[in-house]
């Protein structure tokens, strides 16, 4: 869905599937793993001690898209 706010600004609201695809793409791009694998590792605490890397942080910011 696209909502026009101002002539030069568009907000793209992602469907659940589109959001998951974006999350998966970012996980593969930054960490070479699927979004599902990132989510599994994150929730198991497997990133503890390395969560503060730029790549992990960038994907973690998109967790609401992956869940």
């Amino acid at each position: 869905m696209i909502t026009k706010i101002k002539p030069s600004v568009k907000v793209h609201r992602l469907s659940t599937n589109a959001a998951r695809r974006l999350f998966d793409r970012e996980a593969r791009r930054h960490l070479n793993m699927s979004g599902r694998e990132f989510l599994r590792r994150w929730e198991a605490g497997k990133f503890n001690g390395q969560a503060d890397t730029s790549a992990v942080r960038r994907v973690a910011m998109l967790l609401p898209f992956g869940r």
């Binding site: 503890n48 001690g49 969560a51 503060d52 730029s54 942080r57 960038r58 973690a60 910011m61 609401p64």
Partner: protein, 133 residues
Amino acid sequence: MNTGPYALVIGGECRLKRDPSLTLDIRMQYKIVEASGDRGPYKVKITAYMYIVEDHRGHELFSYHWQPDSPEVKFPHLHVEHPTFKKAHFPTGRISLEEVLKLLITDFGVRPLKSNWDEILTETLGKFSTYRT
């Protein structure tokens, strides 16, 4: 109502008007919370952010982070990509997007799209300062 958290990506990776260009990657998380007064009955509450500035080759220069749900660094901080202090977390207050945009225009020579950019950013920054919780 689903109050979130939601994720927000602004502009994908925005290529800024500058020679050589810079890229700004903006990622935020927010919730919808109840509010009273003139902001009510609901408002958006930012719960995490990343503002990442990269050079034209895609190398990160610096980034502002605040991710209180992180298992490690929970306070707002600045990363500067320099070999001497690459792992340092320089403490900051909570940084607004407007502050980052002002910094890029005034100190990094990014060319704004609008001539009244300062007025616009000052106005929205004032709202952020008034209503942040």
